[in-house]
């Protein structure tokens, strides 16, 4: 490997960034519909991972019920489309808002909880949402069977029927997500999340309203998951309460932790490991849960900071070791 090549990439991040984007655009072209769908799922889960990364990675808060907001977004899009006949693309803002609103209502009363206590309560809330959907709440969620017959989205007379259209649709939103995440990371708000994650008490003593800052992470992350849910509804057109399964939340959580908490490239790696690999080795799919369990145990022993950690989380986890180097 030529080192000067590497350093050239390091100095000009746009080189590998635009290379990566080009790769993502060309990727589905030689593939068949099945693999295009795998690619679509991967990109969707990267988006979900990034939305959860906002909560778990940046603000350092446990959220093990993230799938609930994903489901809320999907249901909002579906209900608006089925009941009111609103075209799917127009339901996206509503999906984001509903998921964000529930994120606010659900997390506001539990924000003072820390660490594992917060994790337990978020698991419970995720289940509450799932059961509410199963029980056909307000008579509009379709019970255990969910909702079907969602109209395919249209744009400029183009019907989104082929998997490849959906792939480009989620890719478009993923690029927006990455752009937004990077800007948030490097802002006053992003710093506030860092302060809260590093030392909540000290952050409070600095005049930072930690409750508000944490709430904002939850609200933004939940809204983003809602958008992913709407994208799911647009592609699959059939949704069920299974979207809010605890296992879904676990997969999202693992994506963040496996790749490296707080790191955008980490989420990519996490999604490849948690979503793409099990899909590619489909004959072994029954082993997925075992794979998930084994991977997490091995990771926690060998590399608790994840495969591609953010510089800072790495530092936090290596606290007791020698100074940086």
């Amino acid at each position: 490997m030529n080192l000067s090549w590497l350093s050239r990439f390091r100095e000009r991040p746009w080189l590998w960034q635009s290379g990566l984007i080009l790769f993502a655009i060309l990727l589905p072209l030689p593939l068949g519909d099945y693999y295009r769908t795998v690619a679509w799922r991967t990109v969707l889960y990267i988006m979900l991972g990034l939305s959860l990364n906002l909560i778990v990675g940046y603000a350092g808060l446990f959220q093990l019920g993230h799938a609930a907001f994903y489901a809320l977004g999907a249901y909002t899009a579906a209900i608006l489309n089925l009941q009111l006949g609103i075209p799917l693309f127009w339901t996206f803002p509503a999906s984001i808002l509903v998921a964000a609103l529930f994120g606010f209502l659900i997390t506001r009363p539990i924000l003072h909880l820390r660490g594992d206590y917060l994790a337990i309560v978020t698991i419970a809330f995720g289940e509450v949402v799932r059961l509410a959907l199963v029980n056909n709440i307000l008579g509009i969620t379709g019970g255990a069977n969910g909702l079907s017959g969602i109209a395919r989205p249209r744009l400029l007379g183009l019907e989104f029927r082929q998997p490849i259209y959906h792939y480009y649709l989620v890719l478009f939103f993923l690029l927006i997500t990455i752009f937004a995440m990077r800007r948030l990371e490097n802002s006053r708000l992003g710093r506030a999340w860092l302060y809260v994650r590093e030392d909540e008490t000290a952050a409070e003593a600095m005049g930072i309203n930690t409750t508000q800052v944490k709430l904002l992470a939850f609200v933004l992350g939940s809204g983003w998951a809602g958008l992913a849910g709407a994208l799911y509804a647009a592609r699959i057109t059939v949704i069920s309460p299974d979207l809010a399964r605890f296992m879904e939340s676990v997969v999202m959580f693992c994506i963040v932790v496996l790749g490296g908490t707080g790191s955008i490239p980490g989420v990519f790696i996490g999604a490849l490991g948690m979503v793409t690999l099990p899909e590619l080795f489909r004959p072994l799919k029954d082993w997925r849960d075992a794979w998930l369990g084994v991977t997490m145990v091995v990771m926690m022993i060998a590399r608790p900071e994840g495969l591609w950690p953010s510089r800072r989380v790495q530092l936090e986890l290596q606290e007791s070791e020698a100074p940086h180097g």
Partner: protein, 277 residues
């Protein structure tokens, strides 16, 4: 400075009948004292006397059981009216509000953001003076960029003031111990306080570093900031403070100039009761 002269007859901080009970333990028992603008007041007492508890009530980390604290003529802490009010979280301690009103603090055990740089640590203090939110972060508007630049500029000023500029991009945990203490003060100053409260700032410092700190605290006071100091190092307290309040077993036992306090029989007794180093 002119402001200070104008308000000098009114106390900046007034602690009245302040009490804190932890179960059956009276940690602080009806303590009164006042702090005047521009002075350096020392709060001393043997271990476990209740100094840090008083400190935590002033800075909003605990709420008092009874009594009240006023700052700039405004009540900043009062005992919860009833158990019901407390349940509703009415009197839940909100330290960030106290900081926003102009009381900054440091911690007895240093609590820097260890994995952030010295500059980023000081920038934390400026958070509540600035206001860019989600939208400004996403659009990176001209005003947002200007605000970011001003945050960095002011944080750098405080680093310079504390003589820490060489560590600008160094992680806080890699700083020498004495400089970590100074960085904590720089961070507190960045919140632009009227009152700076220091919880044992000389703990763990050698004699030379302590002397430098004394000079620095005087310098801070000369910029118009009032200082409240909790300290174990008697030499430092006697040297630095203009007035001293002594507490023991949660009660105030003496108050006065360093010379007066040193002669006070109750103080001598309290300090001879414990093994002094």
């Amino acid at each position: 400075m002119a402001e200070r002269a104008l308000t000098s007859e009114r106390p900046l901080l007034r602690v009245r009948q302040l009490t804190k009970q932890f179960g059956g333990l009276m940690a602080v028992d009806h303590v009164d004292f006042e702090l005047h603008p521009g002075e350096i007041l020392g709060l001393i007492g043997p271990n476990g006397a209740g100094k840090t508890t008083i400190f935590n009530m002033i800075t909003g980390f605990y709420s008092p059981s009874t009594g009240e604290i006023t700052f700039k003529e405004q009540c900043i802490a009062r005992a919860a009216a009833s158990r019901w009010a407390r349940l509703r979280g009415e009197q839940a301690p909100r330290p960030h509000r106290i900081t926003q009103q102009g009381i900054a603090r440091t911690f007895q055990t240093i609590r820097l953001f260890k994995n952030l740089t010295a500059l980023e640590n000081v920038m934390a203090g400026l958070h509540h003076w600035t206001k860019a939110g989600v939208w400004q972060a996403l659009t990176r508007s001209a005003s947002q960029r200007a605000e970011e630049a001003s945050i960095v500029a002011e944080a750098e000023r405080w680093l310079n003031f504390m003589g820490l500029h060489a560590y600008r991009n160094e992680l806080a945990k890699n700083l020498p111990y004495g400089d970590q203490r100074r960085l904590e003060i720089a961070r507190a100053l960045a919140t632009r306080p009227a009152l700076l409260t220091l919880d044992e700032p000389a703990a763990g410092l050698n004699e030379q570093e302590t002397l430098a700190l004394v000079a620095l605290i005087r310098e801070i006071r000369d910029t118009g900031i009032t200082v409240l100091l909790i300290e174990h190092d008697m030499k430092m307290v006697m040297e630095l403070c203009e007035r001293i309040v002594v507490v023991d077993h949660g009660r105030k036992i003496a108050e006065g100039t360093p010379a007066e306090v040193q002669r006070n029989a109750a103080v001598i007794e309290a300090y001879l009761g414990v093994e002094e180093d």
